[in-house]
Symmetry: C2
Subunit: 203 residues, 2 copies
């Protein structure tokens, strides 16, 4: 194994466990068993579970930042960015049994270690602000009725996506997520057909 591989393997598995079960519902033992090392070895990479949790969130933030940069490099229009955003949400659900880390972390928020709370709040803020910026540009281009502020639109979209991923998984009805996404697009855009969503069949 090249250096960093174990660390990455730990992070990858921890991410999967976080998104399937929640932060307080998985242990170092779960990780050790799955990737074939001992608990003590995990402590070498992440001294405490809080460190692992913070590293996870920081990786989410970096990943989101890189994703946003790619959109910029492609000179994506606000409509294209929003379409990509919605499609990314569909990807999350396709990942059998998992929901977005955002949702898990905010539901479990009070039970998280202090540094994770701080890191998570920054993550949440960044996500929110990205949406606000894109929605603001979209509004200038007439994508939405201009009687709403981008902040309110962003809050609605973020909330609905998070809640419907959770409900769709728990109820075993992925089509409920589909319904919410379509409903949102229809109710927000003046010309909903500018944003195309994946088919319900997928999942």
């Amino acid at each position: 194994m090249s250096p960093g591989d174990t660390r990455t393997a730990i992070l990858d598995l921890a991410e999967e466990l976080l998104r399937t079960r929640s932060f307080n519902s998985f242990s170092y033992q779960d990780i050790a068993a799955e990737i074939g090392i001992r608990k003590a070895s995990i402590h070498y990479h992440f001294p405490g579970k809080e460190d692992l949790g913070v590293a996870l969130i920081e990786r989410f933030r970096l990943r989101a930042g890189a994703w946003a940069s790619r959109m910029v490099e492609r000179n994506a229009t606000p409509a294209e960015k929003l379409e990509a955003y919605f499609q990314a949400q569909f990807e999350i659900l396709r990942d059998e049994g998992k929901i977005c880390a955002q949702g898990i972390l905010s539901a479990e928020f009070n039970a998280l270690p202090e540094r994770m709370k701080e890191s998570y709040m920054e993550f949440l803020e960044e996500q929110q602000q990205w949406l606000v910026r894109v929605l603001g540009k979209g509004q200038e281009l007439g994508l939405f009725a201009d009687d709403r502020t981008p902040e309110e639109l962003a809050a609605l979209i973020q909330s609905a996506m998070q809640g419907s991923l959770q409900i769709a998984r728990a109820s075993g009805r992925p089509e409920r997520f589909q319904a919410v996404a379509e409903e949102l697009v229809r109710r927000i855009f003046t010309a909903p057909e500018t944003v195309s969503l994946p088919d319900a069949a997928a999942s």
Copy 2:
């Protein structure tokens, strides 16, 4: 103490702990310490933690049923019922640091004991169906544009409420919940002013 009091005290505190921290983040010890009994005494009332969890959900279901019945007795109109529904969501947030049990349980779903999963799914279904029925009646009365099915409206409302409660708490910005609720009402009703929401000041 009259019989049943300890049981109720346990349930009340467990509900509070569930809604502040999540099911897997509180223990019998937390309850025992707070209400001044011993861990073993809790096992007398609820043999296992799973039993406590199921009892909690069953109580949520009974409570929701009683609430709906009261609406019926008052001959509430669909608009009044929906207004009451939204106002109930505001109450949840006012309860400092707590979010709705629905949200916690669906986020933690995969990490819940089997019987809790089953009970929760029935709870979710009942809530959904109540909304669908009320929205259906409202549609007949022309409260909404009739190009949407009540099922889709219900899914959107439920998701957005759940997600925004979580986000509002984690970000320490209750006004974000306010914004989402207002945005929803505005986007769903043909005459939004028929449903009045509490003021942002409250929280």
